[in-house]
């Protein structure tokens, strides 16, 4: 009987890895608490929530598929402009704007992934940069539609469900962003724990072995790239809708780079890195970069160098080492 018990116990433990743990409720409780505790910071809070979704989508590509990209903002910006253009041209319904953004950004992700994911390493990094820069230039040149340098203005976003108006207090914006982030997180979590997600983790561990067990690695990478692009598009649309503005910076190298920074601060490939890195970064940025942009840049750069040298796994990596948290 002992062997059968051991067998059942082992299989059970393995099969239950995906179950929700109590600790996972913490970010949501904190987010809900913040609504009550910081009523004056809700607009910033909404931005943080939307950016978490963006960085989460980047984690899927970077941490799980192992694709180093300097151009993830391409999808963010595509989603932002999609929602923005809809709202500036008569269709301000927010939820359908999100859907449109997801679809179009996902399409851009699919097409660009189809083209560039055949390469690896530096060539791939290059390609991601080129794709994003091309879109940036396109948005810049199409000033008539996008507003170019000045950004897209004249966005009119309708109230959610016709009831909840976006106002300067940011209440609707915050709850809206929180709800969308929650759904996006559920999706990401689902993917990560699915056989598909596990096979991506396997491919990162040992690509040759993955091929040798008959997995269509390239196809799976393209799929996650597309899904990630869609999520990034949604996050861009969120910010566009909650701020009623879309600028060229939504497509910029800086935005792509910041996503990487926030992710590595939190910890790559651990699903929750975004939840830690984004608030830390954005709150620090909000406080320090306005005070003295030069110092901000310097210390940020230094932090990045320090993290790479001493704390590769970011905050979550440090936790893992300290508390021997369950790994993969």
């Amino acid at each position: 009987m002992a062997a059968a018990d051991a067998r059942a116990a082992a299989i059970d433990a393995f099969a239950r890895r995906h179950r929700f743990r109590a600790l996972e409720a913490v970010p949501w409780l904190l987010a809900l608490a913040a609504y009550g505790v910081f009523p004056g910071y809700l607009p910033l809070g909404a931005q943080i929530l939307a950016t978490i979704l963006f960085v989460l989508s980047a984690d899927l590509v970077l941490g799980y598929a192992g694709i180093v990209t300097l151009g993830h903002a391409a999808f963010f910006g595509t989603g932002a402009y999609t929602a923005g253009l809809l709202a500036a041209n008569g269709w301000g319904e927010p939820l359908s704007g999100l859907v449109a953004a997801a679809l179009i950004a996902g399409l851009v992700g699919f097409l660009s992934g189809l083209i560039i994911l055949r390469t690896t390493g530096l060539a791939l990094l290059m390609q991601t940069l080129v794709v994003a820069t091309t879109l940036y230039e396109a948005a810049n040149k199409a000033g008539r539609w996008t507003g170019g340098d000045d950004g897209l203005s004249g966005m009119v976003v309708w109230p959610i469900f016709g009831v909840f108006r976006f106002d300067m207090f940011g209440r609707a914006a915050y709850t809206y962003s929180l709800a969308v982030l929650f759904l996006g997180w559920l999706l990401a979590r689902q993917i990560v724990h699915s056989p598909f997600g596990r096979s991506l983790t396997g491919a990162r561990e040992n690509t040759a072995r993955m091929h040798a067990i008959g997995a269509p690695v390239a196809q799976r990478r393209l799929i996650i790239y597309t899904i990630s692009a869609g999520l990034a598009g949604v996050s861009g649309a969120l910010i566009a809708q909650t701020t009623s503005f879309v600028g060229l910076t939504s497509l910029s190298l800086e935005r792509s780079g910041n996503a990487l920074i926030m992710l590595i601060i939190g910890g790559v490939g651990r699903l929750y890195g975004a939840f830690i890195g984004v608030p830390l970064f954005m709150i620090a940025q909000d406080r320090f970069s306005k005070a003295d942009p030069v110092y901000w840049y310097f210390w940020l750069g230094l932090l990045m160098v320090a993290v790479v040298i001493f704390a590769r796994g970011g905050v979550l990596g440090i936790f893992e080492r300290l508390w021997k948290w369950p790994g993969k």
């Binding site: 990094l125 940069l129 080129v130 040149k141 990487l260 901000w296 940020l300 750069g301 790479v308 590769r312």
Partner: protein
């Protein structure tokens, strides 16, 4: 002289000048990436440093042009050595993400540092009086400074290519790029090779940055602003190649100039589109190893 012919000559001339600057700056990056397997996004910082040192020496201390240029190159090469020894070495052949983040952090620090030291405005460079004005070649006259740039660049290119082929150092580089382990087992001190190659590449970048100060404006965000250019030159030319980036730089220089003249605003698209197509067809670049 016919309008179109004059335009073509002009474009060829200015495009070549631009190409020279791009090449001088990027060749070091190509070798670093190919030789050490290190994605050094911060390479533009060396070009920027060279530009600042040269303009600083000339504008503030009245150092003559050629001396300032030489000092800029040397200073940049010297600065690069501790950076390579202390920091970069730990990441050779390592995770790409680490290298990207490390060098991006360095770029940020350079932007802040340059703003702090020299302020946010563009540094101007006055060409020396013997290079001001035009050079009359009979059928046409060309700006003297750019002519000097092309001549200088050309000589350096030839020196580089000859050096690669004829000197022992060049042979060591070629061997190590081709097969690092083999080169090590043959007794080449690859660690020292890396250091010297890095210094040489950085010095050249500093030289290029200084020479090209009126083409690529010297501002604190230099390394970020022109990053895409340098990377395209290297990716299209082929990592580890010394010849490849030259042709890539030529392509970019002339295309960029031509478009600025005939179809302003579309030059960037053309270059990006062609880069994408080329990297799809040959991901290792024109002269890179498959």
């Amino acid at each position: 002289m016919g309008g179109t012919l004059a335009a073509i000559l002009s474009i060829g001339f200015h495009g070549l000048a631009f190409a020279m600057v791009l090449y001088l700056i990027s060749v070091g990056l190509s070798v670093t990436m190919g030789l050490m397997g290190f994605v050094n996004l911060a390479h533009g910082v060396f070009a920027m440093l060279g530009g600042y040192v040269m303009t600083g020496l000339m504008n503030r201390y009245g150092v003559p042009f050629l001396a300032a240029l030489a000092l800029a190159a040397i200073a940049t090469a010297l600065v690069s050595i501790p950076l390579e020894r202390l920091l970069y070495r730990r990441f050779y052949g390592g995770e790409e993400l680490d290298q990207v983040l490390l060098t991006m952090g360095l770029i940020f620090m350079s932007v802040a540092g340059a703003t702090y030291l020299w302020g946010p405005l563009t540094q101007h460079m006055e060409p020396p009086h013997w290079l001001a004005g035009q050079v009359d070649l009979g059928f046409r006259s060309f700006p003297a400074y750019r002519s000097f740039l092309i001549l200088c660049g050309g000589l350096l290119v030839i020196a580089l290519w000859l050096g690669l082929e004829r000197t022992r150092f060049g042979a060591q580089i070629r061997a190590a790029v081709d097969n690092l382990r083999m080169a090590q087992s043959v007794g080449i001190n690859t660690s020292r090779l890396f250091m010297l190659t890095f210094a040489l590449g950085s010095g050249l970048a500093g030289l290029g940055g200084g020479l090209g100060a009126d083409l690529l404006a010297i501002t604190p965000s230099y390394a970020l602003q022109y990053l895409v250019y340098f990377i395209i030159v290297v990716a299209v030319g082929g990592l580890g190649s010394i010849r490849g980036p030259f042709f890539a730089a030529l392509f970019i220089g002339i295309a960029d100039t031509a478009f600025k003249y005939w179809l302003p605003g579309l030059g960037a698209f053309f270059i990006y589109a062609l880069t994408m197509v080329l990297l799809l067809w040959r991901p290792q670049g024109l002269f890179g190893r498959a």
